[in-house]
Amino acid sequence: METTSKTIRKHSLEKLYASLAENRKMYAPVAEADNRIGYKYNPDFSEVIFDHIQSTLSVKNVVFPRVENVIFYTNNKNDSTVTDVDLNKIPEVVLWGAHPCDTAAYDVLRSIFCWDTKDEFFAKRLEKLVVIGLACHKSDAHCFCTSVGLSPDSTKGSDILLVPLTNGDYKAEILTEKGNRILTDFSGLFEPYQDEETKLTHVEQQFDHKQVTQHLKEAFENPFWVENSLRCIGCGACAYVCPTCACFDIQDEAKGKNGKRYRSWDSCGFGLFTLHTSGHNPREVQSQRWRQRILHKFSYMPERNASLGCVGCGRCSRACPVDMNIAEQLQALQSI
């Protein structure tokens, strides 16, 4: 679809928000305790923030919940039954004000959940989602979107991207059919865009991801992985805050005869992740697990899923309790 640019005045945003909220769930960023930024369902517009750098957690949970029930069952020895989850109950959600790194992450997740075999749970949630992105006018030292082929105003994954203007209003880029429907439904709120000046942050490029991918092909046995992961405590925080980490576990939970099977977030940083029942573990030590994390995102995914597994949001570096910085490490990797 051809992109259309419009302007939406600051005072019209609230009307747009309220109109969308009439028959959809809104998921928008709000300030939380301890300087945290989090997303919340159906917050009042007055609570919604527009000037945050980064939410503490990503918004992948909208399409890939921490825990997703995949079947329900009744266990009756010789007459057990399995019941499907009703995916028609998945509500329409508007993701409001997500930054371009987070919206681009949906494309990465799609490349995992929909390659070869389609995961309907993910696909249905994405289908029911409208994404109104918000370009960034602020960034910090952890941001590195420009190193992974994105930018503070990338449109990837958004249906409409709001770009802040210096006059306080927003440019609205209408990017998809879903976005176009909103424009048509609420056309009175949009005005023609007249080249008003946009207000965007500048994110310095720290490495060339194509070069990193190239380098990683020969780096499997490099001592780099041990040297750079000695302080890793395997807590998995990086994977839990990551917008593109999609590794999951499948577990059963039953009470008496009735139970459910669910898939839940997991992390390649955990020692149990690959442990065989025999006691053998192909990724026995933390350096092997750190190597897996980097190689998966920057080598295996570009080759197998035609998509880089990182969007440069910097959350893993912000959350790491031992201060491991992925962008710094990737920069260093270029010269090994």
Binding site: V70, I71, Y73, T74, N75, N76, K77, N78, D79, S80, T81, V82, D84, V85, D86, L87, I112, F113, W115, D116, T117, K118, D119, E120, F220, E221, A246, C247, F248, D249, I250, Q251, D252, A254, G259, R261, R263, D266, C268, F273, T274, L275, H276, T277, S278, H280, P282, R283, Q288, Q292, L295, H296, S299, Y300, E303, R304
Partner: protein, 278 residues
């Protein structure tokens, strides 16, 4: 919902065979005849078997695709799910998802000699392809099976070993580790690599299919090389931990290779190009 990739077929246990003190074989039938009708698989593929309330566990389909209307699996009691499976009885229901993974290229093997080498509980992933090729016997030349276990009690499929032994066009060599024999044991005594070296099957126009514990693989590979086998003619299966079976959950990969999608069957030539992550 039309296509829930996590939803298992409901299977009924039709028969249970105690293979060893801790290994069992289940014959499973589809509860829904329509699903049984539609279900197909090929030798080498695997599935996720589940006990409702306990979870899923990954093993190969151990029966041959030429035997219709049931599938079989053989497992050893080891973890939560296999312990729960071991407590099940004939008539009980369990879940099965599959088939997943690639297959043994048995069409490419037509006109060749087949050398099967297995150790311990690693015979099940090979049993499927053994029966498959025996059922299509006229398509293959000599078939040799070398099977070893720690002790006579640890040999699985004892009744089938007997059947293979009685087939005039199958050469079966069974062996147990020194000390594992019984007074009436008539097979070989010794480790698989040594027994293989002594038997010295020709590598001429032959493919070798090798499944066993890592230590057996490690010492058998040089023997196969010595006998003249090329890496591309040696096949084995990898058994990394899995959850989903369709290339998403992120744990079975060996480098960029998904064991669940690109495997579990690999040639030694492929293994040599992969990092040691299995």
């Amino acid at each position: 919902m039309c296509n829930n990739i996590y939803k298992p077929y409901l299977m009924q246990i039709d028969q249970i065979i105690d293979e060893t003190s801790d290994a069992k074989t289940f014959r499973l039938k589809f509860k829904n005849p329509e699903e049984a009708e539609k279900f197909t698989f090929k030798a080498g593929q695997f599935g996720e078997y589940s006990v409702f309330g306990e979870g899923e566990s990954t093993f190969c389909i151990a029966s041959s695709p030429t035997r219709k209307d049931y599938i079989e699996c053989t497992f050893r009691k080891a973890g939560r799910v296999t312990n729960a499976l071991a407590n099940m009885e004939v008539g009980d229901t369990l879940g099965f998802r599959g088939p997943y993974g690639n297959t043994f290229p048995i069409e490419e093997w037509e006109g060749k000699n087949l050398l099967y080498i297995a150790g311990g509980i690693a015979l099940p992933p090979m049993r499927c392809v053994i029966w498959n090729t025996i059922d299509l016997r006229h398509k293959y030349k000599d078939i040799t099976i070398v099977y070893g276990a720690r002790s006579v009690a640890d040999l699985v499929y004892k009744h089938e070993l007997k059947a293979w032994e009685e087939m005039p066009d199958i050469r079966l060599i069974t062996t147990v580790d020194p000390g594992g024999q019984t007074p009436d044991w008539k097979g070989e005594i010794g480790f698989v690599p040594m027994v293989l070296e002594k038997a010295a099957p020709s590598s001429e126009n032959t493919v070798a299919i090798l499944c066993g514990p890592p230590v057996m693989i490690k010492f058998t590979m040089p023997v196969l090389k010595k006998l003249g086998f090329k890496d591309k003619d040696i096949f084995t299966t990898l058994e990394n931990r899995m959850k989903c079976g369709f290339g998403k959950c992120g744990r079975c990969n060996v480098g960029k290779v998904f064991v669940c999608k690109d495997g579990p069957v690999f040639t030694n030539e492929q293994l040599l190009s992969m990092p040691m992550e299995y």
